[in-house]
């Protein structure tokens, strides 16, 4: 498993692990250092002990030499006073031996060698020195003979050899110990220094890691936040950093994303509001224009009647124009209100059971008397054509279509009105033999203020009739459409779902 996967995922976890490792390393280095100091201290103690042992050994050797000197002086001269060193040395010897043996007890070998040395001293004193002094008291010559003989000299030589041997061994041992202690101490110091250097490097590395994983990402988040606050909502951070810092970066990006989205939404809303405001102001402007044309006739002919001398026939003609234009104004105002209500969905429709056949019949009768040039041919089944809806509004649709059929066939002709029922649909079609609709106007014919060739032929209208008719048919759950050939005439039809008669 790679290292990165073994590490904790969260930043705080990693910091805890890193700190613990660092503390452990520093503790180990410190322990090694303490060990080095202890080792050196120990070596110093041993050295002091070795020096004391050597001094004690030399002291013992001096006592032995004093013994021998006193012995020789007394034996060779016979003078009792020369035996003084012997006497004092013999008295001091037991204490010195004990002190020596107590010191020389560090290792088994040292103790063994010390025992051998003490044994050789005891042997010298017991087997040679004491008998020789006793002999000298009784037979000085024999004692003298003994002292100067080879054997007498060799007695002391054995002791001396033991001393030399002991001292040289002791010295070698001390040297070996010192060098071992020195080596250990050197090693320990080296290990401690290495540990401390490693700790220092690790602390630096830890600092760099902290900087990389906390300080730098935190700074980038702060800068990003400043840019965001400055209005740059497209600000995004590069996703980086461990654990909590990574979470922070992601949360920041998400926040920026949402801010940007909500601003975009607001801007779009604003744009829609602006567009609707503009559409409204255009509508007001168009309405004003549409109202001014009939108003111009009403006011103009009224002025003529008031200010000019006119004949009775002219007076009647002008009053007729004024009345027609005033009616046109009233119709226009109604149409505008209808469009407004339909667009805002505020038009309330009755949901009565209506016979479309009756509606068509009534409207055709109304229009039949208006135009002597047109023949209205009505074809309806005997059975009623029932739908659910508003009879006044359905009458308005039929009237609009009939009025268009008559208006747009200025040369007269047959207008065929038919009502049929197929399956679940009531269909009404109104066909004229008029001027038709030019192809370029056909796609917009249900739009507002579209008047086809109307003005060219002096045909009046608000240009709202078809727009209102379509809205009304659709409000009844139906559809409206047309077929038209320019110069041949048009057929407009609408379909509304039929209701089952009660």
């Amino acid at each position: 498993m790679p290292l990165s996967e073994r590490l904790p995922k969260s930043l705080s976890g990693r910091l805890v692990v890193g700190s613990a490792l660092l503390a452990l390393l520093v503790a180990v280095a410190f322990g090694v250092l303490v060990f080095a100091v202890t080792t050196l201290d120990d070596a110093t103690k041993r050295e002091r002990h070795a020096k004391a042992l050597t001094a004690e050994t030399l002291e013992l050797q001096r006592l032995v030499l004093d013994l021998d000197t006193g012995l020789r002086g007394f034996v060779l001269t016979g003078r009792e006073d020369l035996l003084a060193p012997w006497t004092s040395a013999r008295a001091a010897l037991p204490d010195k031996k004990r002190a020596f043996l107590r010191l020389a007890s560090t290792t088994a070998g040292e103790r063994r060698r010390a025992m051998t040395l003490v044994d050789s001293i005891d042997q010298y004193v017991a087997d040679y020195a004491v008998p020789v002094v006793d002999i000298a008291r009784t037979s000085p010559a024999a004692a003298r003979q003994q002292v100067v003989s080879v054997e007498g000299a060799s007695q002391l030589k054995t002791v001396r050899d033991h001393f030399g041997d002991f001292l040289s061994k002791e010295s070698a041992l001390a040297a070996a110990r010192t060098s071992t202690a020195q080596r250990r101490s050197d090693e320990a110091i080296a290990a401690a220094v290495t540990g401390l250097i490693a700790s220092a490097l690790l602390i630096i590395g830890f600092g760099l890691y902290l900087s990389r994983s906390i300080a730098r990402p935190a700074r980038e988040v702060a800068e990003g936040a400043a840019r965001l606050a400055g209005g740059d909502l497209t600000t995004r951070l590069v996703p980086q950093g461990v654990g909590e810092i990574g979470d922070l970066t992601r949360a920041f990006n998400e926040m920026a994303e949402r801010l940007e989205a909500s601003r975009r939404e607001l801007e779009e809303q604003n744009e829609r509001l602006r567009e609707s405001e503009q559409a409204k102001s255009e509508l007001v402007s168009i309405v004003a224009h549409e109202l001014r044309t009939p108003l111009a006739s009403v006011l103009g002919f009224t002025s003529v009647l008031l200010q000019r001398e006119v004949t009775e026939d002219q007076r009647r003609e002008y009053l007729g124009i004024i009345e027609a234009q005033a009616r046109r104004l009233a119709a226009l105002v109604n149409d505008f209100l209808d469009v407004q209500h339909l667009e805002e969905g505020r038009l309330s429709l009755a949901r009565d059971l209506v016979d479309v056949g009756s509606v068509v019949r009534e409207q055709t009768e109304l229009f039949a008397g208006q135009s002597p040039n047109h023949l209205l041919d009505v074809s309806l089944p005997r059975a009623p054509l029932p739908v659910r809806g508003d009879s006044n509004r359905l009458a308005q649709v039929v009237a609009n279509l009939l009025s268009n059929a008559i208006k747009y066939s200025p040369d007269g002709g047959v207008v065929r009105v038919a009502g049929t029922r197929t399956d679940h649909v009531i269909r009404v079609s109104i066909q004229d033999e008029g001027i038709g609709i030019p192809p370029e106007l056909q796609p917009d014919i249900f739009g507002k203020f579209v008047r086809g060739h109307a003005t060219a032929n002096g045909i009046e209208g608000s240009g709202l009739g078809l727009a209102i008719s379509r809205s009304l048919v659709e409000a009844h759950g139906g559809r409206i459409d047309f077929e038209s050939t320019k110069g041949r005439g048009s057929t407009f039809w609408f379909e509304i779902p039929s209701a089952s008669p009660e």
Partner: protein, 131 residues
């Protein structure tokens, strides 16, 4: 036709799509002393202008076929109508600047006072005669 009286009469072309308003313009200027030609749309207005060479043109802006502004520009582009007085009448009350820029001599907003229109027409025809 009486040739002698006709030559004295000024000719006026009324280019307006609403037939009532054409009648009203005629009444406003006064039937006496003028000879009127009427056109209900842009193209026939231009055609009639070329044919009759009127002394005054009363022009609506919202015309089918070709807008009043386009008709006006076409008139001003041809030498024979460069100086002909043109009164623009429109229900677009804020289009006066565009009309004057396109070469209109006067702008009269709809609804208009018949006397005001007559005074404007008379003044323009007298100016025309002066030089």
């Amino acid at each position: 036709m009486n040739a002698i009286t006709e030559t004295a009469a000024k000719t006026v072309l009324i280019c307006e799509d609403d037939s009532n308003l054409r009648t009203l313009v005629r009444l406003a200027l006064g039937e006496e002393g003028f000879r009127f030609f009427e056109a209900p749309d842009g193209p026939s207005g231009l055609e009639l202008a070329r044919r009759t060479k009127p002394d005054l043109i009363v022009l609506d802006l919202m015309l089918p076929g070709r807008s009043g502004l386009d008709v006006l520009r076409d008139l001003r582009d041809s030498r024979e109508f460069a100086e002909t007085p043109v009164i623009v009448i429109s229900a677009w009350s804020h289009s006066d600047d565009a009309a004057l820029e396109a070469g209109a001599t006067r702008f009269v907003a709809k609804p208009f006072d018949p006397d005001e229109l007559r005074d404007a027409a008379v003044a323009l025809l007298e100016d025309d005669r002066a030089p």
